[in-house]
């Protein structure tokens, strides 16, 4: 939980955007029958609310005062049956609007998620995961709320106020006018309050995430705090923050507490004037006792629809902003997509050619410049060089996660943008530096490589990749849960699984980003063997960190500053005494030390440093 602290951002748009609202309402289109259903049920419910008051008036005026029990029983019977009718309606609208709300949310999330699958890498590299998460989770919820409960509340409020006004006008039109005049005032005040309250609570939320952050810092850094004896200073600082929180929170709370009384007092002025006016009229018979009662209860209960209206109005701006952000995601177009007429050649075996390729992630910051490389089918290429030199970019381009900005990449002599993306991706085997596993069992993770693989094939792949041995030592073997992101397994184990996954995929091109983190020697040997399996007979690109991998390559490319600075076999490059030579000797010492660890323990590392 602690990892996803509130993702802060602007919460309001200043302008009211009609286009967005229309688009939001468009989400209801497939379910218009449901919408009509809940609108009718809520409307009837609202009218019935006013009818009940009318019935109470009838009870007083026509039954109690004249002492007529027949009318009394009649009224009671009507009242009773309407209670039941209304209950059915309530059931209806909770069911219709509620389930529709869930449905709209479901639809929207589905749409967002499916669209996300289409988007290109560039989108994910410039958009934080947290941002996307908020769009799919909280924003879709807020939008669904608006079009269902929000719409329901507004309908109820409007019908309820209107029907009350009509009934009041029937009882006494002059007084009804007084009430009518009062409604805008009530609305303005209510909206003002609701907006203020919303702002205040937003403030509280912000401070709250600050406080959470402060706790997080102080707990994770508690050793430093203690070592530097900073407890008192920290407490003093925190007290300031906690005091801010106290003030903000208190302010939000008392504003909320003020809202209902304020509205109530205004309606009480109306009640007071009705009593006064009713008293005057009573002598002329203008307003009956039941009439006065009806007016009082109409006015008293009018504050609920008013406050609902105000709330929805205040929320709406929020929801529209949510909708704008969500729609911006839906409207994002993938930068890498199938061209019209793209084809699937059935295989992507063949020579690979980078022909004067330029690439940049950001305009003006070139990563690759005029990059040329031809790789024969079946060749193993090791890419080495400093971080940021462009190794990963070459691999990304090879996978067509990105496309060249200038120049052409050819597979089997054909510009790869003429091929279907699926034709390329489904024939790649990729093993990443930090292997990504999905929650679920080991078997499920392996099957990710080939969905129709049998259990036997999965096991076979695991054996080839050297993962089988450790898997069977686990409690449930292949059915062991790997945990979220695979966190129940060690890094080395995750690598073995992701190798096996790639083996199972039977790729035509194999791409590997070797892990830099050291794993124990046994696992290391297993990983090496698994890689060998995968390289056999396949065109292979390896971002290599280990000498054994590098030496096994047909060609070694030293990539620096967006180009190839050295290229050749291991022996050729060593003779050059250039960058590769330096890299190699350094790496040799370290690897040797790791090997000696088995004899000398980790102190061997001391010797190499």
């Amino acid at each position: 939980m602690a990892d996803n602290y509130e993702f802060e951002e602007e919460e309001f748009t200043t302008q009211f955007n009609g286009g967005t609202l229309r688009r939001v309402l468009g989400l209801l289109k497939p379910h218009w029958r449901w919408v009509i259903g809940f609108l009718i049920t809520i409307a009837v419910t609202a009218v019935l609310d006013s009818v009940f008051t009318l019935l109470s008036k009838r009870m007083v005026d026509d039954a109690i005062i004249p002492g007529n029990t027949t009318v009394l029983y009649q009224t009671v019977a009507m009242y009773g049956s309407l209670v039941i009718v209304q209950a059915v309606l309530v059931l209806g609208f909770i069911f219709l609007a509620g389930i529709l709300g869930e449905r709209v949310q479901y639809d929207l999330r589905k749409k967002l998620f499916n669209h996300l699958q289409e988007l290109s890498f560039s989108y994910f590299s410039r958009t934080p995961v947290g941002w996307i998460m908020s769009r799919v989770t909280s924003d879709s919820e807020r939008i669904a709320q608006l079009v269902t409960w929000g719409m329901l509340d507004v309908t109820w409020a409007i019908i309820s106020v209107t029907s009350s006004l009509i009934f009041m006008a029937i009882i006494n039109w002059r007084l009804a006018l007084v009430v009518l005049a009062l409604i805008p005032i009530l609305l303005v005040i209510a909206v003002w309050f609701k907006k203020r309250i919303l702002v205040e609570y937003r403030n509280v939320r912000k401070l709250n995430s600050k406080i959470t952050g402060e706790y997080n810092q102080n707990i994770t850094g508690v050793r430093v705090v203690k070592a530097l004896g900073r407890e008192q200073a920290n407490l003093d600082e925190f007290s300031v923050l906690a005091s801010d929180m106290y003030r903000a929170s208190f302010r939000a709370a008392w504003l909320s507490a003020l809202f209902l009384p304020a509205v109530q007092i205004i309606s009480a002025v109306a009640v007071g004037s009705i009593v006064f006016y009713g008293g005057l009229q009573a002598s002329y018979g203008g307003l009956t006792i039941g009439g006065i009662q009806a007016f009082i209860s109409y006015i008293t209960f009018m504050m609920w629809p008013i406050q609902d209206l105000a709330r929805v109005y205040a929320d709406m701006q929020h929801a529209i902003a949510s909708a704008e952000r969500s729609f911006s995601l839906i409207d994002a177009r993938p930068e890498v997509a199938d061209r019209p007429g793209a084809l699937d050649p059935g295989t992507i075996c063949g020579d690979i050619e980078f022909d004067h390729v330029d690439f940049w992630y950001e305009e003006g910051k070139p990563v690759l410049r005029d990059f040329c490389l031809t790789v024969k089918a079946g060749e193993t290429i090791a890419l080495v060089g400093p971080t940021g030199g462009g190794k990963s970019t070459i691999v990304n381009l090879m996978c067509r996660f990105y496309e060249p900005k200038r120049g052409v990449i050819r597979i089997g002599g054909r510009d790869y943008t003429e091929l279907k993306l699926h034709a390329i991706h489904s024939r790649l085997g990729v093993v990443l530096q930090t292997p990504h596993l999905f929650s679920g069992t080991i078997r499920e993770n392996l099957r990710y490589g080939r969905l129709d693989a049998t259990d036997e094939e999965i096991e076979e792949a695991a054996k080839l990749a050297g993962a089988h041995d450790f898997i069977i030592t686990l409690d449930k073997g292949y059915d062991a849960e790997v945990g979220e992101g695979g966190n129940r397994l060690s890094v080395g184990q995750k690598q073995l699984i992701s190798l096996a996954r790639a083996v199972l995929a039977r790729p035509e091109i194999f791409i590997m980003d070797e892990a830099t983190s050291s794993v124990d020697t046994v696992t290391e040997a297993l990983i090496q063997r698994g890689m060998e399996q995968l390289m056999q007979g396949r065109t292979t690109f390896v971002i290599a960190h280990r000498l054994s991998t590098i030496k096994r390559a047909d060609r070694i490319l030293v990539i620096e500053n967006g180009g190839i600075s050295e290229m050749g076999t291991h022996a050729e490059l060593l003779r050059k005494r250039g960058h590769y030579y330096k890299l190699y000797t350094q790496q040799f010492r370290q690897e040797r030390a790791v090997e000696y660890q088995e004899l000398f323990g980790e102190l061997a590392m001391v010797a190499a440093a």
């Binding site: 070592a227 109530q264 009640v271 061997a604």
Partner: protein, 621 residues
């Protein structure tokens, strides 16, 4: 800056009790009068509401149609407004006082917990998860706040409304009062039952939401894998499954709501109708007046409908109590006494340290350190060498009394370490960790963190320069004011270490503990860090957790640890001259170099370069 709010003084230690309700009552200490005032205001507001209806009775029975006197009528009208003002004013007051109470309690708890947690022992933090502690300090504290702000007072409101209105109806007519509450027990029972069920269904719904989020998050973070295997379709199906599952659970939840609310509507409606009928019959009979009937018709609403929410509040209260339990678990942990200690010199220590048969274990039966004895003169440096788990980190952790040695004697300047207050001791000791923790503040704040005085800019800069980090800092857009961490720049391990060195330079301690690993930095910065460290060590008693031959060679004393015991001790020259562990390590370095030379000559001459030939992994010792 706005002033700091001080909550009512109360040592929350005293609030610890096994009885959760009693515990919550104790947490109210210092705010009880305020809370009582909130409750009283609530009662006054409820009384005013009830009086409105009684005034209506008076108006209908005694005024309406009997007088057209403007003054009387105006007074009546004003009476209603006045009562509304009274009701509104007091219900606002009650809300304000209740939130004053709740916020005060939350503030006190929050601040106390913050301080408490930073003063808990190392051993506690070793075993406690950060997320767990944060949750207790934030969401659990908030649950307790809501208990006072909403739940307790909300229940009070319902009970008061019920009591006062019931009494008012009782005064109108006893039979009527009894008739009005016949179905209420049923409503309350049903409401408790429903909200219990619904809160479970809601939990399930939320669980599914969490599952859905996980699927989404894994899809997003694993976007490379998804694309590389072209598994978009599979991912869509997976998401669809969970999304549909959530829709189904939402449906279940809503079905429960769709059944409860209309059913309770019917019950409440029938209860009201029953009251209306009986009341109307009484009014026709003349048992009660028309005005009394009208008052009754208003009062009964406030008698019945709030009862529906009682169940919700009762169910929610239990979360407040659970949270109390979780918070108290943290509160009941013992703090580390910082100022306790009989010996507190006015000046700095000289830095002479002697271990005599010191032993230590995290648990009594498994010693981590045994019979550790050695002597360090002021200003000397000691290098500690040993495998992970050999006890070298534990050994240095004894010096600032992060952990308490369990046997033997450990003296600083001839005085037993336990006699020094921890606070004093920690001011005398500086620690530079391998990958120091930096706070998400500015770089300047991080450098001056814990120095305990206002440091002029020049001094900060000088420290940064001495720590070889000044140029790096200047390369950032906002220099020393650049934020570190999530919202600012990310510093590499080596840069973090140099910030820690600058911090330690400013602190100027007499004793230094260094973790000298530079495994993650390139050679250029390594030299800079090395010279920065050398400047730092000058004139201070230094303990180095050694990862490099070089720092061992320069140390005045080398201690080789194995399984918590000293197996070798001496200077580099001494140790190299004798058979043993240290010599082996030293020899190893030479061996690797010679192996490299062989390897280079073989490869460089064009042999052993066949692409697919495995490199022999054999180790020949």
């Amino acid at each position: 800056m706005a002033p700091v709010v001080t909550p009512a003084p109360y040592d929350l230690k005293n609030a610890i009790t096994a009885n959760r309700l009693l515990g919550l009552w104790r947490m109210l200490t210092g705010y009880r009068w305020l809370y009582l005032a909130a409750t009283t205001s609530l009662a006054i507001a409820a009384l005013a509401k009830t009086s409105t209806y009684l005034l209506l009775r008076h108006f209908v029975d005694n005024v309406l149609g009997r007088t057209a006197d403007l003054v009387v009528l105006a007074l009546m009208g004003l009476g209603f407004v006045g009562l509304a003002l009274l009701e509104g004013g007091f219900s606002f007051l009650s809300g304000r006082l209740a939130s004053l109470t709740a916020e005060g309690i939350a503030l006190r708890l929050r601040t106390y917990l913050y301080d408490h947690i930073q003063r808990l022992t190392f051993a506690y933090h070793d075993n406690m998860q950060t997320g767990e502690l944060i949750q207790r300090s934030t969401s659990d504290v908030d649950a307790i706040r809501r208990f006072f702000a909403d739940q307790a007072i909300g229940m009070g409101r319902i009970v008061l409304l019920f009591g006062i209105n019931f009494a008012a109806i009782w005064r109108l007519n006893m039979t009527l009062a009894l008739v009005s509450v016949i179905i209420i027990p049923l409503i309350v029972v049903m409401s408790i039952f429903f909200f219990k069920r619904v809160s479970k269904a809601y939990e399930k719904y939320q669980e599914q939401e969490a599952t859905l989020s996980t699927v989404l998050q894994e899809n997003l973070t694993g976007v490379r894998v998804v694309k590389a295997f072209a598994r978009q379709g599979y991912e869509r199906e997976k998401f669809e499954r969970e999304n549909w599952g959530k829709f189904q659970r939402g449906k279940q939840l809503l079905t429960m709501h769709a059944l409860f609310w209309p059913t309770s509507d019917i019950l409440c409606g029938l209860q009201m109708l029953l009251g209306f009928t009986v009341g109307a019959l009484m009014a026709i009979n003349g048992t009660i007046t028309v005005g009394a009937y009208l008052a009754y018709a208003g009062l009964i609403i406030w008698l019945i409908f709030p009862m529906r929410n009682l169940g919700r509040l009762i169910v929610q209260t239990s979360t407040g109590m659970v949270s109390y339990g979780r918070v108290v678990e943290v509160l009941s942990q013992e703090r580390e006494p910082l100022t306790e200690g009989s010996y507190r010199p006015a000046d700095d220590v000289r830095g002479e340290i002697e271990f005599r048969n010191v032993s230590f274990g995290y648990q009594a039966d498994s010693p981590v350190l045994q019979e550790i004895s050695f002597h360090v003169r002021p200003g000397e440096s000691v290098a500690l060498l040993g495998a992970t788990g050999s006890g070298k980190t534990t050994l240095v952790n004894l010096l600032p009394r992060f952990y308490e040695y369990t046997g033997g004697s450990l003296t600083l300047d001839g005085v037993e370490l336990k006699e020094y207050p921890r606070e004093y001791l920690r001011r005398q000791i500086g620690i530079v960790e391998q990958e120091p923790f930096l706070f998400s503040r500015t770089i300047r704040d991080n450098i001056t963190y814990g120095v305990g005085r206002d440091v002029p800019d020049e001094e900060v800069e000088a420290a940064a320069r001495a720590a070889a980090i000044h140029d790096v800092i200047l390369s950032f857009p906002e220099g020393h004011k650049t934020l570190v961490g999530e919202k600012g720049v990310t510093l590499s391990g080596g840069q973090r270490q140099r910030v820690a060195i600058a911090r330690t330079l400013l602190k100027n301690p007499r004793i230094l503990i260094l973790d000298d690993s530079t495994s993650s930095v390139d050679t250029e910065t390594e030299a800079e860090i090395r010279s920065a460290l050398e400047r730092l060590m000058e004139g201070r008693t230094t303990f180095i957790i050694a990862h490099r031959i070089q720092s061992l060679m320069n140390a005045d004393q080398i201690i080789v640890l194995e399984k918590g015991k000293i197996i070798q001790r001496g200077t580099h020259e001494e140790l190299v001259a004798q058979e043993g562990f240290y010599r082996q390590i030293y020899d190893l370095q030479a061996r690797i170099e010679s192996e490299l030379a062989v390897e280079l000559s073989v490869s460089g001459n064009g042999h052993g370069e066949t692409a697919n030939e495995r490199h022999p992994h054999g180790i020949d010792v």
